[in-house]
């Protein structure tokens, strides 16, 4: 059981980074469906830089920059040129997938250098790691995962307890009013779209550098889409995103555990569960109609100052 839960935490990490990235993006009023592509761009650039330099920091920096650069294209198209956000996001997914395959062509089957492998080895947290049950599950993991916990904390505080976080949410709720109150809407949108993209890139890099540690084509395999669903599941809250990622990550590996224990349940049923859960959550949150569970009011609307 502990083994399963510890594996769940690992499986949930790419989802967590991508989901928080998308939450930050959507809080600025932009729906970015390019997560899958951004994750793949981060995965390949993290791998390429890590493979070339042998430095874990350079690898992570490469992943963040790749994700941010990808979403900069998106930001330019949707913020400055006011292109349709859905179409642009989808295009970005196709672009990112192709980009990763193209760059990754010569890297397929190559292994992450030993320096990076040992940097992301299991490190037990003193004291916390000794707690029975909770310790082995949450605090005997690699350093990337601890960074994930920290990200949940920092992004929650940032979004809900700081002035810039408040401004960001205001931009997402009503760009015109924010503009009138003196917030630089365009700057906020650009920064947070790129920040969100960078986090998606990190999620992808976790898969290529730590989980697989071998470059394989299309490592992300649809997790970007699950992250889109998770944002709604989490009702734009990083803490709920952690819970959702753990749930979805757990369900994604549950089927194999059941199979290898000889429990007869169709893999298709297990694969369906996360999506069925999302539908249930969407129905529940829409019937409850609580204000804080709603998407940012200006989500998906391009902002024209002239049309104010």
């Amino acid at each position: 059981m502990e083994g399963f839960l510890a594996a769940t935490v690992i499986a949930s990490m790419p989802l967590l980074f991508a989901t928080i990235g998308e939450i930050i993006t959507e809080k600025s009023g932009h729906l970015n469906l390019g997560i899958e592509g951004l994750m793949l761009m981060g995965a390949i650039m993290g791998f390429v830089v890590g493979y070339g330099s042998g430095s874990p920091f350079m690898a992570l920096l490469g992943a963040v920059l790749a994700g941010a650069a990808g979403s900069l294209i998106y930001a330019f198209l949707t913020v400055s040129l006011r292109a349709n956000q859905v179409v642009t996001g989808l295009t970005l997914t196709i672009f990112g997938t192709g980009f990763a395959s193209f760059i990754g062509k010569t890297y397929v089957g190559m292994v992450v250098p030993q320096e990076i492998k040992s940097f992301f080895r299991q490190v037990d947290v003193p004291l916390l790691g000794d707690i029975p049950f909770v310790g082995p599950v949450f605090f005997q993991q690699d350093i990337f995962i601890y960074f994930g916990y920290l990200l949940v904390l920092v992004s929650s505080i940032y979004l809900f307890k700081t002035r810039t976080g408040l401004n960001l949410r205001a931009v997402g709720e009503n760009a015109a009013a924010s503009d009138a109150s003196g917030i630089n809407v365009t700057l906020y949108k650009y920064i947070h779209i790129c920040l969100g993209g960078g986090l998606c890139g990190l999620g992808g890099a976790y898969m290529s550098l730590v989980m697989m540690s071998v470059w394989q084509e299309n490592v992300v395999a649809g997790r970007g889409w699950i992250a889109v669903a998770l944002v709604i599941f989490a009702s734009w809250n990083p803490v709920k995103a952690l819970i959702g990622s753990l749930l979805f990550g757990g369900l994604s590996i549950l089927g194999f555990r059941l199979q290898s224990m000889g429990i007869h349940i169709s893999q298709y049923w297990v694969d369906m569960l996360p999506y069925a859960a999302t539908i249930v959550i969407i129905i529940l949150s829409s019937t409850k109609n609580k204000k804080e569970n709603q998407p940012p009011a200006d989500l998906g609307n391009p902002y024209f100052r002239e049309e104010r």
Binding site: L77, R82, A83, F95, M212, S213, S260, D271
Partner: protein, 367 residues
């Protein structure tokens, strides 16, 4: 003006993306008169470290053997649907191809339609069962022979007496592999049991890895796979366990875990059959290559394999090559207790073996 710019940018972006993920067609230049143009269709990338790479090694061997007298084309990521197969193949035929080789099971129906439409082109299909009398044949191999040998290695390496098998689909070809691998292990280690996890995909690195990890968590210490990538081998290496690969020799990818792998030598069939086609002597057939033909083989055993296991494998391999060692010998029971091969009988013909719809006693697997 701005709108125009937006449209242009989105178009450029999507064009770049299309170019990135469409099946790239690579290959030689060709053009001379007595040059035969041959097109290969692959389901994945040729550098996947497994299935497609093995297919492409066949391509490379054909190229080396025939040199300038052939012009080879290939297309990667050809989906398993009729439209994708036809689009890629017709593109190759327009470029002068007179032989089309498709290498994934799901390419079969597209190949059948093409064979009816292009009667002057020869179509060869790997892993399918359809053919006609004039220009469409299929080929496959007795992978069970090499699987059995790799099972011997696994059976002599395991310390927990528990093997793990990452499998694609609960389908005949996969079951043949599962059973023959297990029989090999059991022949040297009567206490061995095996757990199978189906991932419902031919190749998905992340799924293969997750499946491998679940098997390792169950105490399996030697893994093998019937899936396209090397993920099971790297997962085993991380856990300090062992792995038997599949399709190609992957000792460089996971040197800490890799024992051996049952491998394909596609050129052993492709070179003679292409010679026949060029000479106009080809008659469509269902080729089933064996170890004796050199079509199936075992990757060199690495230094992780014990000397006893090496001797045992060599002994059995000689008998298999001599045709004196059937793999499925009764009495055999399936994991529901039914007798599937009676005492004194053995499955020897292709049709008998390809009727396997059970997994053996001692194997945990859903059906």
């Amino acid at each position: 003006m701005k709108k125009l710019l937006v449209i242009l940018l989105v178009l450029t972006l999507s064009m770049t993306a299309m170019a990135g993920c469409g099946g790239d067609t690579g290959g030689g230049d060709g053009g001379a008169e007595d040059v035969t143009t041959i097109g290969f269709l692959y389901i994945g990338p040729i550098t996947d470290g497994g299935y497609n790479q093995a297919q492409h090694e066949g391509y490379t061997a054909v190229k080396d053997y025939f040199g300038d007298s052939v012009n080879l084309l290939y297309a990667e990521n050809v989906a398993e649907d009729i439209q994708a197969v036809k689009t890629n193949a017709i593109n190759m035929i327009d470029n002068g191809a007179s032989i089309i080789i498709a290498t994934s099971f799901g390419h079969m129906d597209g190949m059948e339609e093409l064979a009816n439409e292009y009667t002057d082109v020869t179509f060869l299909h790997f892993s399918g069962y359809k053919k006609n009398d004039t220009n469409f044949g299929n080929y496959f191999g007795a992978m069970e022979e090499a699987r059995y040998l790799s099972g011997i290695v696994a059976g002599m390496t395991t310390k927990t007496n528990k093997l793990g098998y990452v499998a694609a689909y609960p389908y005949t070809e996969v079951r043949i592999g599962i059973n023959s691998f297990y029989l090999g292990a059991k022949s040297v280690n009567p206490d061995v049991t095996m757990n199978v996890v189906y991932i419902n995909s031919w190749g998905d690195a992340a799924l293969e890895q997750a499946a491998a990890e679940s098997l390792l968590a169950q105490g399996c210490d030697v893994l093998t796979q019937h899936a396209d990538t090397s993920a099971a081998q790297t997962a085993a290496e991380k856990a300090g366990c062992y792995a038997v690969g599949y399709n190609i020799d992957n000792s460089a990818v996971a040197p800490g875990s890799f024992l051996t792998a049952p491998v394909w030598h596609h050129e052993a069939y492709l070179i003679p059959v292409i010679e026949k086609i060029i000479a106009g002597e080809y008659v469509p057939e269902s080729y089933y290559g064996t170890m004796a033909d050199g079509y199936i083989g075992l990757a060199p055993l690495t230094s992780l394999v014990s000397d006893e296991a090496k001797t045992e494998v060599e002994k059995v391999q000689d008998q298999i090559v001599a045709g004196e060692y059937p793999i499925f010998v009764g009495p055999l029971k399936d994991n529901e207790g039914n007798v599937v091969v009676e005492e004194g009988k053995a499955l020897t013909t292709h049709d008998e073996i390809w009727a396997i719809d059970w997994v053996l006693e001692g194997i945990t697997a859903i059906q």
